[in-house]
Structures are given as structure tokens and as C-alpha cells.
């Protein structure tokens, strides 16, 4: 390249001049091309960013709707449950109201009767006691011997009558006291009954306060208030992590369960058969565990503890209860099967240990420990209990499924927001990259550009240099 003249330096200078001249000539076109490319990329990325931003907004709205719907449903369930409790309480108390009323009426009637009877005052002792005393003080020696005798007899008779009257009075008083004593249990019964009624009323009042609070929150949710959204969102995240944690524990339990029954399963379905590259025994054990979990789900659904399957929830109560009994029976049978398999596992283990010891020539090791029944029992117990424990997986699973929808929405929104930001950033980068490239293009052309500017000034040309224009 440097051979176009006999002197390399001259050749190089010539090349530079030629290149600069060529670049200067195509400068306007090159600038337009760079600008068009930069603008094109800038607009494309801006459009993409706006599209992503719109998607993010739509997603936010949708997520908000989902969150509100979930919160609304949850609150409805809580309020419904509270009303159910109130209904139950009222039903129970009102059902007993007639008997309560009767008990109270009877008690009050008895008290009234006893009181009435107690009010009847016994007759006073005779008022002529003073006369008797006067008769008694008359001396017989005054010469009225006969009169004295008569009066003495009268005195005796009167004393006797007085004693009888006193006895009757005492008896009457005792009777009144007895009647008053009879009234005591009736008072207590009335007090207890009224206490129970008071408790029920207090319970209803406290429940009504709770319902008021829930109703306020429900109204906030229905109104779509930001505070409600914030609470629901945070609650959804907490639910997600807590339920995920519990599900992890449940998976651990299922794994233990699997290891308990996979080995003895080989006795039933063979140890070498394969389905899709996996041992049939392992698949059978897994299927049993999955069936148990399914039965647990149906049981929880039938008991209306979870609401994963609306069809089950909508069944008539009679069929639903029947379904609960059937699923529980199946679960119980499967638990029994698992306990049997766990026992079989222990038997197989002993058999295998004995065979290994025999093959090693270690006959002493074949003796079974006297405490081995503990591990056998523990394994059987685990085999029986774990299926029932796995039943409760339905509760965290439902929470996980419901909160997952919101969490996925939040993650998607974050991703879309980030993508939108990156696209906007790229759009701006390309815009300024175009400016930068034009400046870089002009860098080697500083001489002709300076000359152009100088000549323009000299000729008094009013128009701005092209560089400035562009």
C-alpha cells in the first residue's frame, strides 16, 4: 500500500489525504446513515420498552384483581365461618329456650308458692295470758276455797292451752323455714341459667365485634384500597413462604414413607421389573404414597377444610359426608397396608442380614437382638401414622397454590419492569451512540471541517456549518 510513491512516508500521507477527502465527501451521507440507524434502534427499543411497560401495567392490574379476589374470598370465608358460629350459638340457645323458659317459670312458680305459704303467719299465743297470771296470784287462803280450786283448775287449763299454742307456733315457724330452705335450689338454678344466658350473650357480642372488624376489612378490599392491597400482598408472600416450608417438611415425610415401603414392595411386584427406566417396586411405592395424598386431599375437601375442588364443595351434604367416610376408610386401609409393608421391611432386613452373616461365615452375627422389636414397632407405627400425617398436606398445598398465583404475578411484574427499564436504557444508549459515532467520524476530518468553517466565515456566509446543523 505504501508503494504508490517511491517514498513510504509520502505514500502514507497521500493515503491519509485521499481517505480524509473521501470521508469528507461522504460525510453527510455517513452522518445520515449513523443517525438513521441510531434513531431506528432508539425507536425500536422505546416501542419495545413501552410495550413491556404496558404489559407490566396490565399484569399489575390483573395481579391486583387476583389479590383482591383472593382476599375477598378469604374474608368471605372468615365472615361466613363467624356467622356459622353465631348461628350455631343462637340455634343452640334458642333450641333450649323453651326448656329454659319452662325451667325458669317452674322455679319462679315454686318460689312464689313457697313464699306464699311462708307468708301465712301462725296465730299469736292467746291474749289472756295476763288474766291467767292474775288468777294464779290469787291466794286460796283468802277464804274462797272453792273459787280458789276453780281458779287453780282454770289456771292449769290455761297454762296447758298456752303450751299447746306455743308448740303450734314453733311447728309453724319450722314449716316456714323449711319452705324457705326449699326455695334455695330454685334461686341457684335461676342464677345458673341466667349466668349461661349471660355467657352466650357475651360470646355473641364478642363475635359481633370480630365480624365488624372483618366486615371493615372486607369493605376495604371491595373498595380496592391501597392499604388492603398492601396487607393482602404481604400476607400472600408470608403464606407462600410458610406453606412452601411446610410442604418441604411434607416432602421429607413422604420420602421417609417411600423408603419404608419401597423395599418390601419388591416382594409384591418384583425387584427387577422396570417401567420407563424406573423400578416397578419404586413406582408402586410412589403410587401408594400419591394415592394416600390424594385421599387426604379428598378427605380435607369433603370436610370442607380446603376448597381446592369446587365440585366436591358443591356436593350435597349427605354425599359429601359419605365421601369423607369412604376416603377415610381407604386411607385407613392404606395405612394398614403401609404398616404391614414396614413390618415386612424389617423381616426382610433381618433375613438379609442373616444371609450376609452366613455368607461371611459369621454365624454369631445372625442372632437377633432382643430389642429389635422396638425398631419394628417404630417402623410399623411410622408406616401407619405417616399416611394420616400426609393428609394434612392439603392445607399448606391449598395456601401454596393460592399464594403462588400472586407470587408469580409479583415476580412477573418485577421481571417486566426490569426488562422495560433495560430496553429504555438501551434505547437511550443507541441514541447517544449515534451522536458519539458522528463525532468520532468527524474526528479525522478536523482539517477540512476547520477550513470549511473558516471559509464560511470569510465569505460571510450566514448559514451555519453543516456540523453544527447536524
Amino acid at each position: 500500500m505504501l508503494g504508490i510513491t517511491p517514498w513510504p512516508v509520502a505514500s502514507a500521507i497521500l493515503w491519509i489525504v485521499l481517505i480524509v477527502a473521501a470521508l469528507y465527501l461522504v460525510r453527510s451521507t455517513a452522518h445520515k446513515t449513523i443517525q438513521a440507524a441510531a434513531q431506528g434502534l432508539h425507536r425500536s427499543f422505546r416501542i419495545a420498552s413501552k410495550a413491556v411497560s404496558r404489559s407490566e401495567t396490565r399484569m399489575s392490574v390483573r395481579n391486583r384483581d387476583v389479590l383482591l379476589a383472593a382476599g375477598q374470598e378469604s374474608k368471605e370465608r372468615i365472615i361466613e365461618r363467624e356467622f356459622d358460629r353465631i348461628n350455631e350459638s343462637v340455634r343452640k340457645d334458642l333450641a333450649n329456650y323453651s326448656s329454659l323458659h319452662r325451667t325458669l317459670s317452674e322455679s319462679i312458680g315454686r318460689i312464689e308458692k313457697d313464699h306464699q305459704e311462708a307468708v301465712d303467719v301462725p296465730p299469736d299465743p292467746p291474749g289472756w295470758v295476763k288474766a291467767v297470771q292474775a288468777v294464779a296470784t290469787i291466794e286460796s287462803r283468802e277464804g274462797h276455797g272453792m273459787i280458789g280450786n276453780i281458779l287453780s283448775d282454770i289456771h292449769k287449763s290455761l297454762v296447758k292451752a298456752h303450751k299447746e299454742a306455743l308448740t303450734a307456733y314453733h311447728e309453724s315457724s319450722a314449716q316456714r323455714h323449711k319452705l324457705l330452705r326449699h326455695m334455695r335450689p330454685d334461686w341457684r338454678q335461676i342464677q345458673q341459667t341466667l349466668g349461661a344466658v349471660g355467657k352466650s350473650v357475651d360470646s355473641l357480642l364478642s363475635r359481633s365485634v370480630t365480624i365488624d372488624r372483618h366486615m371493615k376489612e372486607y369493605e376495604d378490599i371491595v373498595a380496592g384500597q391501597d392499604r388492603a392491597i398492601s396487607v393482602l400482598s404481604s400476607s400472600s408472600l408470608v403464606n407462600f413462604f410458610v406453606s412452601a416450608f411446610v410442604l418441604c417438611i411434607a416432602i421429607g415425610g413422604a420420602t421417609i414413607n417411600f423408603s419404608l415401603i419401597a423395599r418390601p414392595m419388591a416382594e409384591m411386584v418384583g425387584g427387577t421389573n422396570l417401567i420407563g427406566g424406573f423400578r416397578t417396586a419404586d413406582i408402586a411405592a410412589l403410587v401408594i404414597i400419591l394415592v394416600e395424598i390424594s385421599m387426604g386431599l379428598f378427605l380435607m375437601e369433603s370436610l370442607r377444610i380446603t376448597r381446592l375442588f369446587p365440585v366436591i364443595g358443591a356436593l350435597p351434604d349427605k354425599i359429601r359426608v359419605r365421601m369423607a367416610y369412604i376416603t377415610f376408610a381407604i386411607l385407613f386401609l392404606l395405612a394398614g397396608v403401609e404398616a404391614g409393608l414396614a413390618y415386612m421391611r424389617e423381616v426382610l432386613l433381618h433375613d438379609e442380614l442373616a444371609t450376609s452373616a452366613l455368607l461371611r461365615g459369621d454365624t454369631g452375627a445372625t442372632a437377633t437382638g432382643q430389642y429389635m422389636w422396638i425398631t419394628t414397632t417404630a417402623q410399623m407405627g411410622m408406616g401407619f401414622i405417616l399416611p394420616f400425617a400426609l393428609t394434612f398436606v392439603a392445607i399448606p398445598l391449598e395456601t401454596f397454590v393460592h399464594s403462588l398465583r400472586t407470587v408469580i404475578g409479583i415476580i412477573a411484574i418485577s421481571i417486566l419492569r426490569t426488562v422495560s427499564l433495560v430496553l429504555r436504557l438501551l434505547a437511550n444508549i443507541f441514541l447517544y451512540l449515534g451522536v458519539f459515532l458522528r463525532q468520532v467520524y468527524d474526528l479525522p476530518l478536523f482539517v477540512p471541517l476547520w477550513l470549511e468553517e473558516h471559509m464560511a466565515k470569510k465569505s460571510g456566509h450566514t448559514s451555519m456549518p453543516r456540523r453544527a446543523v447536524q
Binding site: 423395599r263 419388591a266 416382594e267 418384583g270 425387584g271 427387577t272 421389573n273 422396570l274 417401567i275 420407563g276 427406566g277 416397578t280 423381616v347 426382610l348 433375613d351 438379609e352 442373616a354 444371609t355 450376609s356 452366613l358 455368607l359 461371611r360 461365615g361
Partner: protein
């Protein structure tokens, strides 16, 4: 439509279930030399058999046969078993197998001749019949073949796909005088096995049995 779906499901299940279980199982045939003073070594052989039994699992096959005057015969098989699918049955089979071998070792009588080739032919035939994934022949012998008159054993045995392991190849008195005889004997057997595509290995240190199966 429904029939089509049913047939497709059946085919799918059949294709899943009909996996070739022999592809991964093992077949082991062990030959025990009962000639002359080598019978004294049979207690070691019994240990190897027990070790082999402990290593084998469901659907594997194992047979132990003696090498005597004419070894190409099923009558020379001392014990054989194709292990069941069920673990409990496998344990029973292993215990029975070990007992049969133990009885044999206790009552063995030395054979006048040593027909190793006949035993190998029998082993190849047995393992081919079992069609196992891996085929291993263990020869517990000094590898000194001594044929009775009239027995023709100058034949090529097809060892392709077989692993032949010579165990406890003891040195004879003549080997001590001329070690070349021992080395030639080993080389001769190696050539015969590898000639037809087999794999040859010698293990004299019985502590190094790990990993042979």
C-alpha cells in the same frame, strides 16, 4: 376412537414394561479344579463362592461346577441358581447354594484328570443359555490341563463377550524348577481366550476380588 386410545395406551405400557431385564444382570460360572492336591485349596474357593453370592442380586445367574476327567457335562455342576425377583426368595436361594457348596467341599474326592477346556465349554453353554448381560467365568485352578486318553479338546471356544478370570493359579513343583512353564501356561490360556474375543484376567491375591463382578 376409544379403542384406538386403549390400544395406544396398551402399546405404551407394554413398551415401558417390556424392558430387557437381562441387559443389566450378571451371569457367573465358576469352575473348581478337583484334581490331585488342588482339592486342598477348595476352602478358599468356598470363600470366593460366598463372596460371589453376596455380590449377586435379583435375576442374576450363578453356577459352580467341578473340573474332573470329563467336565463337559451338566453332571459336574455342583450348584446353580437363577435368582428370583423377590428379596426373600433370593436369600433362601443363596443360603441353599452356600449349603450345597459346603457339602461338596466337605465330601470332595480328587479327580484323576483335569479337563479345563470341557469345563469352559460347559460354562459358555450355560451362560449363553441364561443370556445374561454380563458373562463371567471364574476358574479356580492351577490351569494345568491333564486330559484322559481319547478326550479331544483341541477346539476353539467362542469367548466373545465373556470375561474369564483365573483365580489362585498355584505354582506346581515343576514350575518352580522352570518358571517358563508356568508363564507359558498362563500365556497359552490368555491366547486361547483372547483369540475369540474374550477378556482374560489372573487374580492370585484373593484380597483383590473387589470389583471383579
Amino acid at each position: 376412537m376409544k379403542k384406538g386410545i386403549l390400544v395406544a395406551l396398551c402399546v405404551l405400557l407394554a413398551s415401558c414394561g417390556a424392558k430387557d431385564r437381562t441387559a443389566t444382570n450378571s451371569g457367573v460360572y465358576m469352575l473348581l479344579d478337583t484334581s490331585g492336591t488342588y482339592t486342598e485349596e477348595l476352602e478358599k474357593a468356598e470363600q470366593i463362592i460366598r463372596y460371589t453370592l453376596s455380590k449377586l442380586d435379583a435375576s442374576d445367574s450363578f453356577a459352580v461346577a467341578r473340573i474332573d476327567t470329563g467336565s463337559f457335562s451338566e453332571k459336574d455342576i455342583i450348584a446353580k441358581a437363577s435368582f428370583d425377583d423377590r428379596p426373600s426368595a433370593i436369600n433362601r436361594q443363596k443360603r441353599l447354594f452356600a449349603q450345597q457348596v459346603s457339602d461338596f467341599v466337605d465330601n470332595v474326592k480328587p479327580a484323576p484328570y483335569t479337563d479345563i477346556t470341557g469345563g469352559l465349554l460347559q460354562a459358555v453353554e450355560f451362560l449363553n443359555e441364561k443370556d445374561t448381560g454380563k458373562k463371567t467365568i471364574l476358574i479356580f485352578s492351577d490351569l494345568k490341563e491333564d486330559l484322559a486318553e481319547g478326550y479331544i479338546r483341541d477346539i476353539d471356544v467362542e469367548f466373545a463377550g465373556f470375561k474369564v478370570i483365573a483365580l489362585n493359579v498355584t505354582k506346581l513343583r515343576s514350575d518352580n524348577i522352570d518358571p517358563r512353564e508356568y508363564l507359558d501356561r498362563l500365556e497359552n490360556w490368555k491366547r486361547r481366550v483372547e483369540k475369540t474375543g474374550g477378556e482374560w484376567q489372573v487374580i492370585n491375591d484373593l484380597d483383590g476380588l473387589d470389583g471383579i463382578l
